[in-house]
Amino acid sequence: MKEFNLKDQLPRVKAPESFEEEVLQKIRVKRAAKKRPLLILIRIFRFRPLLVGALLGILVAGFIVIPSMIKEKQATRAIFSSNLPQLVKVGSSYLSLIESVDFNKDLADIPTKRVVYILEAVNENFISDVKY
């Protein structure tokens, strides 16, 4: 079999006339798409005072307001969750000063949005149950 020459024997195709213009158009589209995130950044940068304010707000909320609220809540919870009365030593015996009371269980059955009056005995000589 005789040798074949690929270059001469294979049919040749050419690029269409609009080839260059189409490539340049694709480049422009791609360049615009690449610039889009940059434009967004520039727009964001314009509103930097607002952004700084928002950031400061978040920081203040994150480091001051929220922790203090959490602390307050924890302190309240600690008082109510403790069943032991606070004791003060008087001579050889202990005197109960404050007895923590948790009304959560007592109020659980009461429907919401109702005013509840808690009546406690203020006279130490007269012991009575808590009424509400």
Binding site: K7, P11, A15, F19
Partner: protein, 182 residues
Amino acid sequence: MDEQELIERVKKGDEMAFTVLMKAYKDRLVNFLYHSVGDYERAVELAQETFVRVYFRAHQYRPIAPLGTWIFTIASNLAKSEAKKRRKINMVSLEEVAGELGGEGVYYDPPSSGLSRNLEQALKELPAYYRIPLLLKDVEGFSQEEIAKMLNRPVGTIKARLSRARHLLRQKLEKALKGETE
């Protein structure tokens, strides 16, 4: 203006220099990609994608190799990816494509002789890892070392693939010619 000067200007975003570069390579690229993927329209798209990549990656080009080698490396990678994609989908026959390409405004020279037609068909039947090095060597005229760099394979592998590709092509042609004479 030589190619190094052109690419330096392209790096600076000079569209005129880029157009000159495209004019110099577009037909070779479209022809190479057409024989690599067997679809004219896809070949044109891939050639355009090659130039888009050349434009955006011009700063990556180092003048250690000729510019043509670099451009064909990008095109070869695209051709390889396309071949992988096409392996998974049904392909349109080259005859159908040639028929479609016969229309107005398409820059296609239909094969004049039976040998050309058979050669084109035989080439299409070769796996991409044989077809692409063969086209780069025998049609585009790159050296084996350049092809090895382009395809990121050892020179020995390229030599073996070229030899095997020619052998397979010869077998397929002989088979086709026998079929014609019977």
